[in-house]
Amino acid sequence: MHPELSVNAHHFEAMGTTCSLFVVGQSRGRLLEGESWVRHVGARLTRFALDSELSRLNARAGEWIEVSEEMEAVLRAALEAYAMSSGLVNAAVLPSVLAVGYTRPLVEGPTVATLDRVGPTPALPEVLEVGGRGARVRTGSSLDLGGIAKGWMADRLVELLGPNALANLGGDLRAAGTGPRGDGWPVGVGCATLMLRDQGAATSSVRHRRWGEMHHLIDPRSGLPAKTGLDEVSVVAASGFEAEVIAKTALLLGPALAPAYCAAHAMASWLAVGRDD
């Protein structure tokens, strides 16, 4: 461990959440470049703006749509997440997300739930095709890139920020380098502070973004809000993207299988059981 180096930090609101960037040995200008990149790419990937790339892709389901390099990469990441999780992390859950009332940012409040129309989510590879800077979503399906996009963006962003940096996009984070003291970046994960070096971390939780009996995390096996007995899973993994996928998969697997799954796939894990289960 060496003497503590000074850290430049920058916090801002984007993509409907709080983003925090930290760098060692880089100027404040680099942090502002990072914010600009988050806003630029986030605007392409959000489902809450009608003119975003994602909204156009969803609105023109059935047609091949030209997509940006970033969108293509995130769509491929979504397919990878589906494969990694054996189908539990499925970006095609948007119809269910809308049906539970999460039709707009929750700061504006949920809308009325219409659960009679939801069912199991179709397999993502059957409804999403990606190739040659184009993509097509099957008619009747739509995508929500949510945490997958944030994990993927944190991984790309930290490369932009420099060799010793930390990017936290609403809880999906990636640390690079050895941090300010040489022993890692101190990050709150579950009940502890963990020192992360060239690692990612994420939390999947049903304790927040919930209203009444509803919450935002859909179980694609039913198309309904997940109720597995676990309330919260946090993991550390090799990247922010992997951490996001592992955390969500573990939460959906429930308390019987999640410990073994996390032991096999995560570098560290925090599993919290449901308070009312």
Binding site: S20, G171, P186, C191, M195, A263, A264, M267, L271
Partner: protein
């Protein structure tokens, strides 16, 4: 004569081992549809602790610390 008997015995032994191995393998087929349930509950030389309604498990590549975290995985 002795050389011939040794060769014949070795051949019979080899063929016997091959046949018995083949019979064993074909009668103990792996079920590719079996669910994946690794018998691992904690990472290699990791540690596990229960607190505040949850269980924290650390692998060897992650170190805990007493310092104040700069940020956390909790979304706003």
């Amino acid at each position: 004569m002795r050389v011939f008997l040794l060769k014949a015995a070795a051949t019979v032994l080899t063929i016997g081992a091959t046949v018995s191995s083949a019979l064993y393998v074909t009668s103990h087929l792996k079920n590719p549809a079996a669910p994946l349930q690794p018998p691992v509950l904690t990472a290699g030389d990791g540690s596990s602790a229960t607190a505040l309604g949850g269980t924290l498990t650390l692998g060897p590549s992650v170190q805990p610390s007493d310092v104040e975290p700069m940020t956390s995985t909790y979304a706003s």
